[in-house]
């Protein structure tokens, strides 16, 4: 590696700057506030156009651009000057609007032709809005899944949906919501371990560990006949390390629970066989640690949540209730190639979000590429970016949009389109030389297990999918069956079925005693919560099985979370009223 940071600087950057104190907390809080407000803004735009029939119907690409503009223009005015000014602030996660089965990364550029067929939402769609921002590297990301209802009926002077959403989409939304809340309560309990229900105590004592989080999330998912989609994670984040380049950067001291195909494989095998040999990974099969300096870069569940840390709870759940057979829920990357393999109805767009890889250095040949790279390095910090962000006209003037209508900013949008075209030329060279990595658009798919079991696997475990990097140690999706990611990719092409996914993501700060406002340790929920991420009206056929001890204790824990006085102290960051922005 050409670049290196001195050990003492490393210590400052990775430890000292991550100690939660008043100023750091303020930055987190403000970042959370901006994200929350942006979410309410986007929710309002969607509600207005789809449910209340007010205002124009914006396309997905426009919504993304408008959302990014909102974040950027809001952030322009904070921590701007004086002693408190920060060098780096901005969008930490460009707005993506993933519909139904899209797992993430769907934020088409304004000039994207391929997303033309998927511009508007249909009734019954579940729409996940993901966004995030950071101030001085202190990041607050969020995701929330909404439901698009049919035109509502008037009730008590208010337009309301005619009925709840039913079916597997409803199951996923409920499961995701409950899982998210449960994990947040669990993290809150890490601040006051004495309040943790006794059933969760393990041999270490009453602490919240990674395996406990996994156990609870898996339990909730099975109750709703859902599966935790690979790529879901509950992870500790640090300054500038909010998981934005997972798979690209092998981050030292990774702390978090990550769900992958391997976990589903283990649970499937558990059901089918009593043989412990099959389920536990032998050293030979376990490929974790290959190509990585630090063992700590490989995620394990073997960690304890401690106060003073910041966590992202990012759970994606997909329902498999409709299938009568066992199978694997996995992700398929959309490559954006056109041709015979793709019909018009299936989503196929090119990735539009990229993240810079600073470890790689290369002098580019094209002038436009160099200019683009310079612009990225100067303005975009270390977070994912879209080409629209590099435009001169970005952020768009949203006031003008709302006062004078969408026609008024058409010329600006045209300019942005033009600049995107130029930057795209430069970007191809940047991507080809791995100076930046793409954030792939992925869809969630169900692959019946018999297809995997019946397949011939002559290459064994040697096929890693380089185009779709994973976290270190998770390169082999099915280590017990010895199926490589390339094999799985090939299998997905014909045999798999697309399934909807719901995603809830929140960022929480575990504030220790003495720093929080009340003096008590509290869990500061930066994003999500009852104000912005209220679950849509859905009814599921399933519910939590209260006969189980673990569920009982879980409900007890959730009740504690709602008890302000004696329970777990959870404080939510509220959005700013849109009229004030």
């Amino acid at each position: 590696m050409e670049l290196a940071v001195a050990p003492q600087d490393q210590d400052i950057l990775l430890r000292t700057k991550n100690v939660i104190n008043e100023s750091v907390l303020n930055k987190y809080r403000l970042a959370g506030q901006v994200s929350q407000t942006a979410l309410t803004y986007l929710t309002k735009l969607i509600n207005d156009s789809y449910h209340l029939n007010q205002g124009p119907k914006l396309t997905t690409a426009e919504l993304c651009l408008v959302g990014d503009s909102f974040l950027a223009s809001y952030l322009e005015n904070v921590y701007k000057s004086g002693v408190n000014s920060v060098n780096e602030k901005g969008i930490a996660q460009p707005v993506t609007i993933d519909v139904n089965s899209v797992n993430g990364g769907f934020g088409p550029e304004i000039d994207d032709e391929e997303s033309k067929n998927f511009q508007y939402f249909e009734i019954g769609d579940i729409v996940t809005i993901s966004l995030g921002c950071h101030i001085d590297g202190y990041t607050a990301n969020l995701s929330h899944t909404l439901v698009i209802y049919p035109p509502g009926e008037e009730k008590d002077g208010e337009l309301r949906p005619t009925g709840p959403l039913l079916g597997n989409k409803a199951d996923t939304i409920i499961a995701a919501h409950i899982a998210n809340e449960a994990v947040i309560n669990l993290l809150g309990a890490a601040l006051t371990p004495e309040k943790l229900p006794s059933i969760f105590n393990n041999n270490v004592g009453s602490v919240v560990t990674g395996s406990l989080i996994r156990q609870i999330v898996d339990e909730i998912a099975t109750n709703f006949k859902c599966v935790v989609v690979p790529g879901s994670r509950v992870r500790r984040i640090r300054r500038f390390l909010a998981g934005q380049s997972e798979g690209v950067v092998a981050e030292k001291e990774y702390k978090g629970v990550v769900w992958s195909e391997a976990d589903q494989e283990a649970s499937l095998l558990e059901k089918a066989s009593t043989s412990q040999e099959l389920i536990t990974l032998s050293d030979k099969q376990n490929l974790r640690g290959k190509g990585i300096n630090q063992v700590s870069a490989i995620p394990t569940d073997d960690f304890v949540v401690t106060p003073g840390e910041v966590y992202i709870v990012d759970l994606k759940l997909a329902s498999i209730a409709e299938f009568n057979e066992v199978g694997l829920v996995t992700l398929e990357t959309l490559d954006g190639y056109t041709g015979k393999n793709h019909d018009k109805d299936s989503i196929n767009i090119k990735p539009s979000i990229f993240v810079r890889d600073f470890a790689i250095q290369h002098t580019l040949k094209l002038r436009t590429s160099r200019q683009t790279l310079n612009k990225i390095d100067k303005t975009r910090s270390v977070y994912p970016f879209k080409l629209a962000h590099l435009s001169e006209k970005f952020p768009l003037d949203l006031k003008k949009l709302h006062v004078e209508g969408p026609e008024s900013i058409k010329s600006d949008i045209d300019l942005v389109k033009k600049e995107i075209r130029n930057a795209r030329l430069g970007l191809s060279e940047i991507i080809n030389h791995h100076l930046a990595a793409t954030k792939n658009v992925q869809v969630v798919k169900f692959l019946p297990l018999h297809h995997i079991l019946n397949t011939a696997n002559p290459t064994g475990t040697h096929g890693f999918d380089a185009a779709n990097p994973t976290l270190p140690g998770l390169e082999l999706p099915l280590p017990r069956l010895g199926v490589s990611s390339l094999k799985l990719k090939a299998l997905l092409k014909k045999n798999s079925i697309v399934i909807p996914v719901a995603r809830e993501q929140s960022t929480v700060v575990l504030v220790q005693q003495g720093i929080s406002t009340g003096g008590r340790p509290e869990l500061l929920r930066l994003t999500g919560g009852s104000k912005t991420s209220k679950p849509s009206w859905v009814h599921s056929n399933y519910q939590l099985d209260e006969s189980k001890d673990i569920i009982k204790s879980l409900l007890q824990l959730i009740k504690l979370g709602q008890d302000k006085r004696f329970g777990i102290n959870i404080r939510e960051t509220q959005p700013v009223k849109l009229e004030h922005v």
Partner: protein
């Protein structure tokens, strides 16, 4: 018993004897014995020695006189002449140094005239001194007693007078060497060039041709010196005869001091631009500063001669104006356009600090070459073995039916 027969002494030990043998007294007695004289005792010897040391200073001139008496008159004259020539050489050297000094001191702003006049003065002075010397030599024998009584200044004046009395003014239209008269100066020059080989060097830069010829004329007429060698004639005729016979009719223009002697008549300032301190600066190349932007400034700075070198770190000269000067042999490194050091922002630094990937390292070329060499060798050996094996493929002496085995 140890004895010394020469000095008729006895010594108790061998050591004492040895010390005695080395002493001056013993040596003196040895010499006396050779001359058939009796040995003297130590007291007498010491007395003699002390007498000698006292009288030494007084005796030396007398001794010299004694010596002089021994050598011939001819030899004596030769010695005197040599001494004189030596002195003259020294004087000429001093004159040249003065000239050089005045040349360097003379700044560019001053008019050429001033410089030339100054130089002329100095040169005339030197000439006079040289002339004095030659005169003194001539009249040495007659006025030996007088000269000895006179002081230096008086001597100089006298010599000067003599010289000026004997001075022969050579007009410009007259040939320096054969005293032939011409109607005008240029005709005279052509004559001297064609008949005597009086070639005037670097005519392109010659400013004062007449001055140069007049200077040469003075050298011959006043100083009675050959223009090429150190020959000094007693009269102008003697010098001319020497020059014609030895063909010393050219202006020497090979060594630096020769060039400097007549440099006052030349003006080489038009050539300065081409060379432009080439001697000092030629081996050094300008190193580009770290900023590419201030190229123009640097070019301007190049014009000025660096007044002093701030310091030399062994590789580069650091000039006071901030320019770094490196050696030409390293030009290929200076010509490289290296990427400026990347300054990481905090975010980039954090990501790099948290990074734990192995990135591909550059393969060790040496190791790779070694490996390739081994592979090649192995292949070569294998081929050779195959070839050898192939020789014996079909050498079964008797036919064997495979089925009958």
């Amino acid at each position: 018993m140890y004895t010394c027969n020469t000095c008729s002494l006895q010594f108790p030990t061998a050591e004492d004897q040895r010390v005695h043998m080395k002493s001056d007294w013993h040596r003196y007695n040895l010499k006396r014995r050779v001359a058939n004289l009796p040995a003297i005792n130590e007291a007498l010897f010491l007395e003699k020695v002390s007498k000698l040391t006292i009288n030494e200073e007084e005796e030396t001139p007398r001794k010299e006189v004694k010596n002089n008496k021994q050598i011939t008159k001819k030899e004596q004259r030769r010695i005197e002449k040599e001494a004189l020539l030596e002195k003259k050489k020294q004087l000429l050297e001093i004159a040249k140094q003065n000239m050089l000094k005045s040349y360097h001191e003379g700044t560019l702003n001053e008019t050429n005239k001033v410089i030339t006049s100054e130089k002329k003065e100095t040169i005339v002075k030197e000439e006079e001194e040289v002339a004095k010397l030659s005169i003194s030599e001539e009249s040495k024998e007659e006025k030996k007693d007088e000269v000895e009584n006179l002081t230096d200044d008086q001597l100089a004046e006298r010599i000067m007078e003599e010289k000026l009395k004997n001075k022969v003014e050579i007009p410009l239209e007259v040939c320096l060497f054969c005293n032939k008269k011409f109607p005008y100066f240029d005709a005279c020059i052509t004559h001297m060039h064609k008949n005597h080989g009086f070639y005037i060097p670097e005519q392109k830069y010659l400013v004062d041709k007449e001055g140069l010829v007049r200077y040469m004329g003075e050298k011959i007429g006043l100083g009675n010196v050959c223009v090429v060698c150190d020959f000094q004639g007693r009269s102008i005729e003697a010098v001319r005869a020497h020059m014609l016979s030895k063909n010393h009719c050219r202006i020497p223009y090979e060594e630096e001091d020769e060039k400097l002697e007549i440099s006052q008549f030349y003006d080489f300032s038009s050539t300065y631009d081409d060379i432009s301190f080439g001697d000092d600066d030629g081996d050094w190349e300008d190193v580009e500063g770290e900023d590419v932007g201030d190229d123009d400034v640097e070019e301007e700075e190049e014009e000025d001669l660096p007044q002093q070198v701030s310091y030399n770190d062994g590789v580069e000269l650091h000039l006071p104006n901030g320019t770094r000067v490196g050696h030409r042999s390293l030009a290929r490194y200076y010509r490289q356009n290296l990427r400026p050091d990347q300054v990481l922002t905090e975010g980039q630094g954090t990501v790099i600090a948290a990074e734990s990937r192995h990135l591909m390292t550059i393969a060790d070329r040496g190791a790779l070459l070694e490996k390739k060499r081994i592979w090649k060798n192995e292949k070569h050996h294998q081929d050779r073995d195959d070839r050898r094996a192939a020789k014996f493929i079909n050498n079964q002496p008797h036919y064997r039916d495979q089925l009958l085995q």
